[in-house]
Assembly symmetry: C2
Homo-oligomer: 247 residues x 2
Amino acid sequence: MFRYKMIISYDGTGYGGWQSQPNSICIQDIIESVLTKILRQKINIVGSGRTDAGVHALGQVAHFDSTIALDLSKCLYSANSLLSNEIRIFSIEETSEKFHARYSATGKTYQYRLHLDRIGDPFKAKYALHVKHKIDIEKLYTGSRHFIGTHDFSAFANQQHKGSAAIDGVRTIKRLDIIEEIGGIRLEYEGDGFLYKMVRNITGTLLDVASGKISVASIPEILQSKDRKQAGRTAEAHGLCLVEVYY
Amino acid sequence: MFRYKMIISYDGTGYGGWQSQPNSICIQDIIESVLTKILRQKINIVGSGRTDAGVHALGQVAHFDSTIALDLSKCLYSANSLLSNEIRIFSIEETSEKFHARYSATGKTYQYRLHLDRIGDPFKAKYALHVKHKIDIEKLYTGSRHFIGTHDFSAFANQQHKGSAAIDGVRTIKRLDIIEEIGGIRLEYEGDGFLYKMVRNITGTLLDVASGKISVASIPEILQSKDRKQAGRTAEAHGLCLVEVYY
């Protein structure tokens, strides 16, 4: 048995996210069916984690097992020929059987893009949250400092399923940079792992801070409350992109 | 009666082009229905020209007439609030009744984007033609020089309708620049006017030149033939963008 590691990029617009959900086309399913077709054996792929419907990826990582010793460059070419242009496999390489795309991951970087403009831009619309009203970037920056480090982020996690068992909410955000770019800013989150919807919930809360709905000073209390209801809104999916997974 | 001029940008992905075609949603219709709703009177808009299904615009221009003296900034805000993020009106201003978006136009700039990469990029897929194979940019450049100036471009025009009367095919291309950008090149065409599918047919022919299917030396003969069948293929719609209209 051989194990293969892939780096995958996708425009999440119009897809039902990474993993199978009813009534939607999922990226994992599409890639599995293409690999199954090429290798003529049922292939199951395991991603580093799920991305929600509409979320993008520059560097999603997945692995799969096969009894076939692949011609890697030919397989890469064939798979990309069968995939739509919105999903690209950047690399396929053989890896150790100890490697697991999800459990071996030691960290991830996400980015969340904001397009700050009164009118908007059709070519940014699918890849950045359009923020029409004036926001206070200074407050957004000051607020963001509270999230860096090791905290229980339960107040910023949604339950994945109704009635899921409570999970340990302690995570470490190593880096949360606010980076100016043409037309707006992007928030770059690097951490050892992220709870369900955590990046979108922190971003939504920072937007509420930047528009004055939530005070900067209340962020430590919100963290301590471990109560999702105390935090701000969930920022829309289309501004979010999984940039890189670390091993 | 007041006449208003608008500058409009759109991501043409998924739309049936600027003007009404059966079984598709057209950008002109969408903007007309939004303005009709806001002004509570039937509004007809006239664009500088049609863009085909899938073609984008950074600076499409259109005019409309109304008996209402508009609060321009309020109208701009209301229209953009009702439009999807993929269509944006950048400006609305009052203009002379002599102004006509189509007949007053003295020139246009289009750009055609090529993404030159073996694998591709999901985030460029809707806005640039993905060219997988190696092409000879030097030949593409040399070939492009033949199109600059005043020529009869009939060999590079499609008939808009089967059996349309032949129209005068003489046009002037003032500028055809080949500009390197991240991941590829873009062709910028500035001219006094363009025949139906002319930019896509010239670009397709230049791609055939760059891949060796058509020789650079044959371009003057193709122009002289005035025969569409002599020229190369029509490059796909999604690489094309109407950048600016001049008056």
